[in-house]
């Protein structure tokens, strides 16, 4: 939905106002404590003009990807089974509920105690926090499935495998997709927490390093640029993918 020009105005005005306010306030402080917009940009440029920065970001992305994929797989399978076999659903319902209660930091600590400083710790943490969300989503999806389509497939004598592939799973796709974007948003934040004290190299580690070095400017530089990257991935990759997968949904205009 494109906003008309007068509608964009209040937003632009406040944005400019905020930037000016930021600039003014930052004059009262050291650049390392509160950098001005320009100083922040130069920090970011300094970071990313060095090759190691890309390796660091790449490492974190690796972990996020691994954690996300595993969470989606495990979560979807468990959610599907819970939906198809109500007894299983009732049984694991409370386990999932309890898992949803765990704060990220708890798994982060436990995984470091178990796996030491490694890739496994952040990935494990991500999976344990994120997969319950996927499971709940997919489970909800199984409850909303269209019985008429299942009946139709039964009449045509489709076997279980065909039924699953062509009838059940496509109906779950909206639920899987909605949990994909939420899971991604969760995963990268958890990755940061977990890396902060449990990884050899990564963006979270950088944040922790600069936090201990009392360098707000460097923290902001890393943090903001990583946030921007995450948003870009969400909008340019995930959202687009979602659109393509659901192209069949467009009803013809009468």
């Amino acid at each position: 939905m494109k906003l008309s020009r007068p509608a964009l105005l209040p937003g632009l005005v406040s944005l400019v106002g905020l930037l000016l306010l930021w600039q003014v306030v930052s004059l009262f402080f050291l650049a390392s404590f509160l950098p001005s917009p320009a100083e922040l940009l130069s920090r970011v440029a300094a970071i990313f003009s060095n090759p190691p920065a890309y390796l660091i970001v790449g490492k974190t992305l690796e972990r996020i990807l691994a954690g996300l994929v595993l969470s989606m797989l495990i979560g979807a399978v468990i959610g599907l089974v819970m939906g198809l076999r109500p007894a299983v659903g009732s049984f694991f319902d409370s386990w999932i509920m309890v898992l949803l209660t765990f704060p990220a930091i708890s798994w982060a600590f436990l995984s470091v105690l178990w796996f030491g400083i490694s890739d496994l710790a952040p990935i494990f943490t991500i999976v344990l926090i994120v997969f319950p969300y996927v499971t709940m989503n997919v489970w909800e999806g199984t409850k909303a499935m269209d019985k008429e389509l299942t009946d139709m497939a039964m009449v045509f004598r489709a076997n279980q495998f065909l039924l699953l592939r062509k009838v059940l799973i496509p109906q779950l796709m909206p639920y899987i997709f909605s949990s994909l974007r939420i899971s991604f948003a969760l995963s990268w934040k958890i990755a940061l927490v977990s890396e902060a004290f449990g990884a050899g190299r990564g963006v979270g580690k950088e944040l922790m390093y600069w936090f201990q070095g009392i360098r707000a400017d460097m923290m902001l530089a890393w943090g903001v640029s990583f946030m921007v990257l995450m948003v870009l991935i969400d909008v340019m990759v995930l959202k687009r993918w979602e659109k393509r997968v659901f192209a069949w949904r467009q009803i013809a205009v009468a």
Partner: protein, 258 residues
């Protein structure tokens, strides 16, 4: 070797009453025999169990007693192929039109090599040549129902079940579909069991008309429509037949509800 495609004997089906405390008979000692290649209609008021009968034949619902036998075309004891057209198209909206038909072919274990020819043949037959790559939601209601018909025909069923397939369409589309179905029957002639609440539709389309009452749920009248195909919708003989049937129906209904 019977020439019947469908043989039903003493079929009974009970449903629990809304209170759950007792049961009433939706179908009671129902007998029905349909010869192969016949277009048979079952007509009755809503709630008389016609859809239940169809579901039992299709295997979606279980019956309580009696015998249901669908005979495969090749006369062996192998499981008969059943095609079903529902009231709503029940298409898989995320698959293209051709993939929807392929789904049924795969479900029936029909060899992949034959898929393309069948898809083309039956889409042509229902007048949807060229729509193969479209998604169902891009089609009108009538077109979607045609895909459903093509899907059921494509498996070359021993028996084709149709449960009020045109009742969800607007009147004009429905009329066209009836005429189109009539013409399709010139090319493919499976045994058809067609359920409807419209006497006119039944008389127009079928060779055999079976009338069902509610209490008890049984077939109380059977009529042959001997008018040769293709039939004209405005044929006066059809009107006469319909008038007679309506009279019979009212007589039975009055008796049943006394």
């Amino acid at each position: 070797m019977s020439s019947n495609a469908v043989e039903i004997e003493s079929l009974s089906k009970m449903f629990p009453t809304p209170s759950g405390l007792s049961r009433f008979a939706v179908l009671e000692s129902l007998n029905l025999q349909i010869e192969r290649g016949t277009f048979a209609s079952i007509v009755g008021p809503s709630g008389c169990g016609k859809s239940t009968l169809l579901n039992i034949i299709a295997g979606i619902e279980a019956h309580d007693s009696g015998r249901v036998c669908i005979v495969a075309q090749n006369g062996t004891n192998s499981a008969a192929r059943i095609g079903y057209v529902f009231q709503s198209p029940r298409l898989l909206n995320w698959l293209t039109v051709e993939d929807n038909i392929r789904f049924a072919l795969e479900a029936q274990n029909i060899g992949k090599l034959r898929w393309n020819e069948r898809v083309k043949k039956y889409l042509d037959m229902v007048g949807l040549a060229g729509q193969e790559r479209n998604y169902p939601l891009k089609l009108s209601g009538g077109m979607q129902q045609r895909v459903a018909i093509a899907r059921a025909l494509a498996i070359e069923p021993d028996i084709l079940l149709m449960d009020e397939p045109f009742s969800h369409l607007d009147e004009i589309t429905a009329r066209k579909m009836r005429v189109d179905l009539m013409h399709i029957l010139e090319h493919a002639h499976p045994t058809i069991l067609f359920v409807t609440h419209s006497l006119r539709e039944a008389v127009f389309l079928s060779e055999e008309v079976y009338m069902m009452s509610v209490k008890p749920a049984r077939i109380f009248k059977h009529l042959r429509v001997d008018i040769p195909r293709p039939r004209e919708p405005e044929d006066p003989r059809l009107f006469d037949l319909e008038k007679d049937l309506v009279k019979e129906f009212f007589a039975v209904l009055e008796r049943d509800y006394r």
